[in-house]
Point group: C2
Chain length 147, copies 2
DNA sequence: AGTATTTCGGAGTCTTTTCTCTGAATATAA
DNA sequence: TTATATTCAGAGAAAAGACTCCGAAATACT
């Protein structure tokens, strides 16, 4: 289905970046995320609960409650989110699924792939959600003028 | 689960490379693939049937039957196999799953990811199964001396 | 011709992932 | 206090992906 990330992880990234676009500490309710990002309500709720448990987000119940970043936006990287949801085994495991991946007895694509995934990992570590919020040009993320 | 490729695709690559290691046109039965590569019998059979329909393999029924490459090994690329099984939508679609992926209204990772996937695609197109057969150092692929 | 070996085709099962529902608990505001 | 908005927790349904089974057709060997 989706390359590189699971659906969950995809949604997680979308949501966290959405939070980062808001001013520091502002709370966003699941409802808003669902409406703006088109993510199933109960599903994204579950995912954000998870990220809360992992310490990336903070949650507040009740009216005017919702989720917000638990850390400054520039201290949360893409890698952190992926790690929290999908895990990062892919940085170590064989592209063809062989039980071990190393330079000794490499599979046919090992040499090429080892470079690629290194580069992907650098991308994930190198992007923090503050940058992501800035670079996100999708209309879903632009805050609305009041009518 | 496995990044980039589905299980099916993974198995397909493993199997086709196995065929390419053999001398031109030599047939390999599902049985042998299952034993050597540790792939479930009926599953790999299905996958190879599929590749046959797509024109990458040739099949022969009956005793001493099996599968063999339908083309010279250096004319089948990794990309061909991936295309036949998983499809290649990933070369065009957004990493975060947004409905459209282009330079106009890009998502946060578009610029970085567009380069990465370009590079991945080049890798897939650039590797043919003849090279893959040569570079495969996994013991599963080394032909056995008779006892 | 008869038998064993193998692919073919389709249906069926199991497992994982995705998504939904429900009933709490908690906080805000009137 | 009451009503309301929200997260929390866990179970459950649906869909997709991975894998199995079976009966039939084709081929090779005796
Ligand atoms: S052994 Fe296959 S990618 Fe390293
Ligand atoms: S818009 Fe997201 S990768 Fe191109």
């Amino acid at each position: 289905m989706s390359i590189l990330f699971s659906r969950q992880c995809e949604y997680a990234i979308k949501a966290v970046v959405y939070l980062a676009v808001k001013k520091d500490g502002e709370r966003v309710a699941t409802n808003e995320l669902t409406r703006r990002l088109n993510i199933p309500y109960h599903f994204v709720a579950k995912i954000l609960q998870n990220l809360t448990k992992k310490g990336l987000l903070r949650s507040a119940k009740g009216p005017r409650g919702g989720f917000s970043l638990a850390l400054p936006a520039n201290e949360i990287t893409l890698f952190d989110i992926v790690d929290a949801i999908d895990g990062t085994a892919f940085t170590r495991s064989c592209l063809l699924g062989f039980p071990e991946c190393s330079g000794k007895n490499p599979c046919s694509v090992h040499n090429a792939w080892a470079l690629q995934r290194e580069s992907i990992q650098e991308m994930l570590v190198g992007k923090n959600v503050s940058q992501l919020a800035r670079d996100m040009k999708k209309p879903e993320y632009q805050s609305r003028r009041k009518g």
